[in-house]
């Protein structure tokens, strides 16, 4: 009996010691922070030593009860984050028929590494920083294309005026501004077709080079923000029905985007807004001069538990001397983090392009539901499984797709 009691006592003591030590959950993070602090202390020590070695005629330092350090700048240097994905997909889309939602060429059931994304930021000073995103895009036959998705010199004067210069993702959609190329960040496996990158068959000019201005609008608890972008997107779209790599160079002129959105204090998880984009395009081999206007609207609710994203678009192509074509599109996505690790989601998407039109004729009518579940092993690795059903304009058959993906960040 005494032996059992002694063992029990020792166990209690061990638990007590364990509590007293309160280890951090992420030792790597702790080590990183400690390293940062050591670096900062080294810098301060160097400053103090330099002062001590200064000529004796230097003005005496007034002693104060509080020693204010000259610098506490730990944020310099280049910060790198990476995002990657490996997936498998199978569908009943028989060879010779249309692809699904801009999927690349290849067999009907295959593995793919997807995009490998390096995100780099560096602060130049308190108000200026450089942001870049380099994406190694998976192409056919296990080859990769390097895409400088974003390269921006940002100047943040204050909350009301932030200027950027460089290559950016356009504000033609909420999705394009928030999720960019990192599959780990988004709940479903792939982007909805309406907001898919133009280089993968999407209907919007998703990238541009130019200047952008953003900031808050003094509006009290309404939380209004503005966006203004001016640049050239020079969009090259692949024909998503083609298995031979046909593309259309839209030869865009400079495009202008104006946007407005609000994040009201009285509804803190909501983001509601819209944008208007306009440019002129001259698609290769068509001889047409087309005015392109895109109107978008979004209503988004995001909390750690619920994600509810809704976006709608009208893409208008005004063919000079001919007629006007409108392409309506929308998607709605809802997901719920049910137990901290599991996040089931459903989505419905719709895109309807006139088959007789000059551009986007490969899109046609595509709509249908998506259902899936995401499981997060931790804050760095997630697994997704998804089913898509895509209806197309008669007489084209519907397409069923099953996909899985492991996405991660580092």
């Amino acid at each position: 009996m005494l032996r059992i009691c002694t063992f029990f006592t020792l166990a209690c003591l061990l638990v007590s010691v364990g509590n007293a030590q309160t280890p951090t959950t992420d030792q790597k993070e702790t080590i990183k922070l400690l390293q940062q602090e050591v670096e900062m202390l080294k810098a301060r020590l160097a400053t103090v030593e330099a002062k001590q070695q200064a000529p004796a005629q230097a003005a005496p330092v007034q002693e104060t009860s509080v020693a204010a350090p000259q610098s506490f700048d730990l944020m310099r240097g280049v910060k790198i984050q990476g995002f990657g994905e490996v997936g498998w997909r199978a569908n009943d889309n028989r060879a010779g028929q249309a692809q699904v939602n801009g999927f690349s060429d290849g067999p009907n059931g295959n593995f793919a590494t997807g995009d490998f994304d390096l995100f780099l930021t560096s602060r130049i000073n308190d108000k200026t920083m450089v942001l870049s995103e380099v994406v190694f895009e998976a192409a056919d036959a296990q080859s990769f294309n390097v895409n400088l998705a974003r390269l921006l010199l940002n100047y943040n004067y204050n909350d009301y005026f932030k200027a950027s210069l460089g290559r950016y993702h356009t504000s033609t959609s909420y999705y394009n501004q928030v999720f960019h190329s990192g599959a780990w960040l988004q709940t479903p496996i792939n982007r909805p077709l309406a907001v898919e990158f133009a280089s993968k068959g999407g209907i919007l000019p998703t990238q541009a080079i130019g200047a952008s201005l953003t900031g808050k609008i003094p509006s009290g608890k309404l939380g209004l923000n503005y966006i203004f972008e001016y640049g050239t997107s020079d969009t090259i779209r692949p024909d998503i029905n083609s298995r031979t790599g046909d593309v259309t160079d839209e030869s865009n002129g400079n495009g202008t985007t104006v946007g407005l959105f609000m994040k009201p204090e009285w509804a803190p998880n909501w983001n509601v807004g819209g944008s208007y984009y306009h440019d002129r395009i001259n698609p290769t081999d068509t001889g047409f001069d087309i005015g392109q206007s895109i109107i978008s609207a979004h209503a988004v609710y995001t909390s750690p538990k619920i994600e509810f994203i809704n976006e709608a678009f009208v893409v208008q192509h005004d063919v000079k001397g001919s007629r006007v074509f409108n392409t309506p599109a929308f998607y709605t996505l809802i997901s719920d983090n049910v137990s901290g690790k599991w996040r089931p989601y459903v989505m419905y998407q719709y895109t309807n392009a006139n088959a007789q039109r000059v551009v986007l004729d490969d899109i046609g009518l595509r709509h249908g539901p998506t259902g899936g579940v995401r499981y997060d092993f931790n804050s760095y690795v997630g697994f997704k499984a998804q089913y898509d059903h895509v209806f197309r304009r008669t007489p084209l058959p519907s397409i069923n797709t099953v996909s899985t993906q492991v996405s991660f960040r580092f």
Binding site: M1, L2, C5, F8, T9, C12, L13, V15, S16, N19, A20, T22, P23, T24, T25, D26, E29, T30, L33, L34, E37, S65, V66, A68, P69, Q70, S71, F72, L74, M75, Q81, F119, T121, R123, D126, K127, M129, L131, R150, L152, N154, N156, N158, D159, Y160, S164, Q177, V178, F179, H180, G182, L185, K263, E265, P268, P304, S379, R409
Partner: protein, 159 residues
């Protein structure tokens, strides 16, 4: 008699274990919001605190905000995440990964390992702001009210 003595020792040890756990939870107490003395503000709302530590407010008007936060498992961080951000630590880290990646914020709050470092950081940066246990507040920083209530007064929200 011998058994009674052994049981008494075990009970005492168990009480000590429980007390140790409680003292960890209670050691923080109220958390004060401190800013640099050069900052003219005297009060802040929890909504503005959420904006600052959520990257939606990066300027005091004429100078940039420099938020500092304690590393994981610190009482001050727990109070900020539970009472202001309404997130778990993992959710807060994910939130900032997405925030930085979207480009809508330039940098996340700098995490430091001690309250002493927080004090030095806020002293050194005009835009500095941090949450620190009220008992650890020292000279060289300014304690501001939260939602119009000073630390120690009834209704103070950061406990």
């Amino acid at each position: 008699m011998k058994n009674i003595r052994v049981y008494s020792i075990i009970v005492c040890l168990l009480v000590l274990c429980v007390a140790g756990g409680r003292s960890k939870a209670q050691q923080g107490g109220e958390v004060a919001v401190i800013v640099n003395p050069g900052n003219p503000i005297d009060s802040i709302t929890t909504a503005d605190l959420k904006k600052i530590f959520g990257g939606d407010k990066a300027s005091w008007g004429g100078f940039p905000v420099a938020p500092f936060i304690r590393a994981a498992k610190a009482h001050e961080r727990d109070v900020l995440l539970a009472n202001v951000m309404k997130m778990t630590d993992a959710q807060y880290q994910d939130f900032w990964v997405k925030k930085l990646y979207s480009g809508s914020a330039a940098h996340e709050p700098l995490a430091v390992m001690s309250n002493g470092m927080q004090l030095e950081a806020v002293r050194s940066q005009k835009g500095g702001i941090a949450l620190i246990s009220a008992a650890d507040v020292k000279d060289g920083v300014k304690v501001i009210k939260v939602d119009g209530v000073a630390p120690g007064a009834a209704g103070y929200p950061l406990k």
